[in-house]
Amino acid sequence: MNWTWFHKWGSPKWFFQKTESLIYWFGFLALIFLVVGLVWGLAFAPEDFKQGNSFRIFYIHVPSAILAQSIFLAMAISAAVGLIWRMKLAHVFVETAAPIGASITLLALLTGAIWGKPTWGTWWVWDARLTSTLIQFFLYLGIISLHQSIENRDTASKATAIACLVGVVNLPIIKFSVNWWNTLHQPATFTLTESPAMATEMWVPGLIMVLGFYMLFAYLVTLRMRSEILEREKGSAWVKAYLEKLNVL
């Protein structure tokens, strides 16, 4: 098997040059998907027969909840790659994705609370999904604060990577225990997002929104990674050349 592609991705310079045009595609696709999904979901999708219009926050809540989990998983995979192959770019991904992940998780929590108000009558219910999302939010915060409080950059990267891996090993156990705890304390509440057999007109805009959220994440994380690379490699010749070119233009 040819591994050169893999090593190329480890080079910050190569990554920076390759994403130069790719980032515009991410941004463009994110914009299209989000606009189409939002307009379709909010204006044209049919009303839910039980919840009325309040269900429409589904189009933001569910994509953000899905994305928040995916980011955690992606961070953990990237952390493992960074530790095993000593790939600095993988660490850069972990560090730049963490604040985005935390924000998206917070978005999921807030939209969950907004959805909860008309459905349950309160802003917050210790529903299994909301609770484990809350704990996941705390995990993100812990990882971010760990990264920010270690001064040595290499040490910080690796420590963060280990924390991510420990977190990802624990996340299924946490989710399981929270689910179990939930059935123990409050039997049979109405759970968000578990409406059986959703109509096609209802879930297609949702799917588009999910794609839009993923593209938005790809755009944001590439943007952040690129600026982090510039910061880290500021002494190198190619960054100087790049900046000079920018000034000329």
């Binding site: 040595n152 290499d154 002494g235």
Partner: protein, 223 residues
């Protein structure tokens, strides 16, 4: 420790790259040590003496292209750790254990416990009578002597000493110099850093000046 008459260096590290913070300290730097050689690292503060010593011990995050011990590439870090003894500038003393317990603990770690030997070593470093004192109540120089006692406890082939003369009195410096000389004469090698001028007569010793070595890649030999 058998005298070896061979041209193969005891330790050969090629392509050492390490950075501290944003500063590149060494970039593909080569270091080799013959058996029976004393290598003194010199250079101003912050030049990377400690970093280099830690790198060859394997306790610094350095990239080393090839690390060869007696002609054989190092693959097992535990076995390599067995060959060398590192004394950092932190003396690694457990303050809440007594002097005797400290040494006994250390000999547990290096799997060579012999209580008769412990008493003898304590006498050798001039700390008899302090065996049951807590390490925290001893002076800095005495703590340094406890750390040095390890050199007599463990059998190995390479001593890596970071500022071993710090806070030692004249007697202590003389004692350590004597140890280094007899260790080298029996085939061991020593790499150490110091700011004090120390002379070893009749030994194969050289000074590696780290600040200039980055361009020269080799220090001037003295003998």
């Amino acid at each position: 420790m058998v005298e070896e008459v061979s041209s193969v260096p005891l330790l050969e590290a090629k392509g050492i790259c390490c950075e501290r913070g944003d500063k590149q300290l060494f970039d593909s730097f080569d270091l080799s040590l013959k058996a029976g050689e004393i290598l003194q690292l010199a250079g101003p503060n912050g030049s990377g003496k400690t970093t280099l010593l830690r790198s060859i011990c394997g306790i610094f995050d350095a990239r080393i292209d090839s690390l060869v011990w007696r002609g054989i590439p190092v693959t097992d870090p535990l076995q390599y750790a067995d060959e060398l003894l590192y004394l950092g500038h932190r003396p690694a003393i457990r303050h809440h254990l007594t002097l005797y317990e400290n040494l006994s603990w250390y000999s547990c770690l290096s799997r060579c416990s012999d209580s008769a030997q412990l008493d003898q070593v304590i006498a050798e470093v001039g700390l008899q009578g302090y065996e049951d004192e807590l390490a925290s109540s001893l002076s800095a120089g005495q703590k340094r002597r406890i750390a040095l006692a390890r050199l007599r406890l463990v059998d190995c082939n390479l001593w890596v000493l970071d500022e071993p003369f710090a806070s030692l009195d004249v007697e202590g410096v003389k004692m350590l110099c004597g140890w280094i000389q007899s260790f080298v004469q029996s085939g061991g090698s020593v790499a150490y850093s110091t700011h004090q001028p120390v002379e070893f007569s009749g030994c194969d010793s050289r000074i590696l000046n780290i600040d200039s070595s980055r361009t020269l890649n080799r220090g001037g030999a003295r003998q």
